[in-house]
Symmetry: C2
Subunit: 361 residues, 2 copies
Amino acid sequence: MEERIIVKISELETFVIDVLCNTGLSREDAEITADVLISADRRNIESHGVARLKRYVDGIKTGIINSDARLSIVKETPVSLVVDGNGGMGQAIAYEAMKLCIGKAKKSFMCFASVRNSNHYGIAGYYTMMALKESMIGISLTNSAPLVVPTFGKDATIGTNPISIGFPSKNEKPFLLDMATSTVPRGKLEVYSRKGQSIPDSWACDETGNPTTNAGEVLKNMINRRGGGLLPLGGGTELTSGYKGYGLSAVVDILSGILSSGAAGLDVYGKKGAPAEMCHFLGVINPEAFMGLEEIQGNVDSYIQMLKNSEKAAGQNRIYVAGEKEYEAEEKNKVTVSLQDKVFNTLNDIGREFCLKLSKS
Amino acid sequence: MEERIIVKISELETFVIDVLCNTGLSREDAEITADVLISADRRNIESHGVARLKRYVDGIKTGIINSDARLSIVKETPVSLVVDGNGGMGQAIAYEAMKLCIGKAKKSFMCFASVRNSNHYGIAGYYTMMALKESMIGISLTNSAPLVVPTFGKDATIGTNPISIGFPSKNEKPFLLDMATSTVPRGKLEVYSRKGQSIPDSWACDETGNPTTNAGEVLKNMINRRGGGLLPLGGGTELTSGYKGYGLSAVVDILSGILSSGAAGLDVYGKKGAPAEMCHFLGVINPEAFMGLEEIQGNVDSYIQMLKNSEKAAGQNRIYVAGEKEYEAEEKNKVTVSLQDKVFNTLNDIGREFCLKLSKS
């Protein structure tokens, strides 16, 4: 039985910031990173929350993440940016790039940034929400480690490459899509494997490239690079349209890693121990480029209501709109969040080196 | 057994143009529409080819499509447009709007148009290809008749809302994604229903909102508006991530129908016999906004090669990249295309009214 530990958000924040500062990150970058991670936990996206702190700390220690790096602007127009992350902390790079996009979109109606040579930036939706807070439309995409097998392939060559896009609303919660382009993330396989449950055949494929229901085998194959991996949204066959998820994943790769002349596909985390070279694509659209904020907000509200008020399937009493579950979790987790005991213990293991301790609430 | 009839493309073109002109479309708009339809047939996307001519002709005759309408510009910035199609022919409206986007993207690095009050515009990819021909990045989205049931719903409230995006290449064929955000289009259900074959359970749901394998029942329910319909990409359960396809479909609706204050969701084809009020979202990005055409083309080539050269699944000898199959079909169908005999006969039925005849090659 998995135990949950309740911690105060304010304490968790201080703890994560202190750990990252002690590891070598500037205080400012540590604050941004802590906010991105804890936002994920508050929104019940635990896979991308403080459970990942160890990976970031290890990344800084081993030099995969260059904690001193600042972004540099490679190319710039009134509506676009090519940004080099110089191997820095993904969250800090993406935050800074998104700030630049917001500034440009205020003046020039929109701005898109293709960002190369960065690192894992946490939840894609965080940066979309930065735009929403400014009453703008936000877009956030990133490539990632190749874990996904393209249609008719047997090796993982593309990432789970998420797509996030958000639109401001008036009385409803903003529309906020944040989805991997694979059917599920690797973490879901781990959960099913631990429980010894079989998985739906649209989740993963075996070492020959055929869909499988055995999560444990897939994970073993992934670790030993024996072939197989996650399947794109739509699954592992042409019949169920797996090529669509594969196509979307490639679009994310191209916008992020190809427009910026960064890394894409197998080149992300291409060399063991070397910088990850992850790439992002961030965008902000000023509603004034179209029918204007107020009108669009009203339209978004009506659209959300239309979806939510439509007839429910047998046994269901609610239709959700993208982002709704996460907003509700965030509201609920205002003062505290609950962590897996394993995660809580790992955090304290990390903190010990710097005489830092995270307490239960 | 289905028979195929070979026709010369030049003759098919003349025939379709003449039919549309006689129905009331200007010669210029008829030429554009014929090119969009025949492009689909050449690319083996028969569902969106000349098989649809009757629907367009009927649309013009019944006034759902206003054959005289020209687009008007509702709002304009250097990088954006809100366009009103005034109920005109979808292909002509979208073609004209895309031309405007290309012109603006040459000057201002990019342009996006949200287009309201239009009609069915054929294959989304046609407009993306217009940008590709100018060595630009193209985007083409459209909402459509509500045939798709959102996750946890039982009624079709959203369209198959396709996403097309294309990137220019150098020696490889351009990358060209063109995909419905439902698992499959309605036409696929018709094919399986005719053959009496059961369908995968990620394609459609019954009148209670539950996934079904009985295509015939779904089609009957759709016609009688008894509930049920197509499922979003990812299928009808949360477990297989159907909410992702649902979310993507909503994004298309919002960009097309909400940013332009047009119709979205149930409001598309909302009133029987009234204009469809379909909405599109078109975009062009100048590669000079990012690393520049030549560099990006080279990067796209390398990326495509990486994907294609990766290991194949057991029993497969080729990995495809988005658009590749369609380009190959287009190459093959340079002089003639083959039509279903049923489609060939319908075309001649339409032509008879205007003393027009389409011959076999």
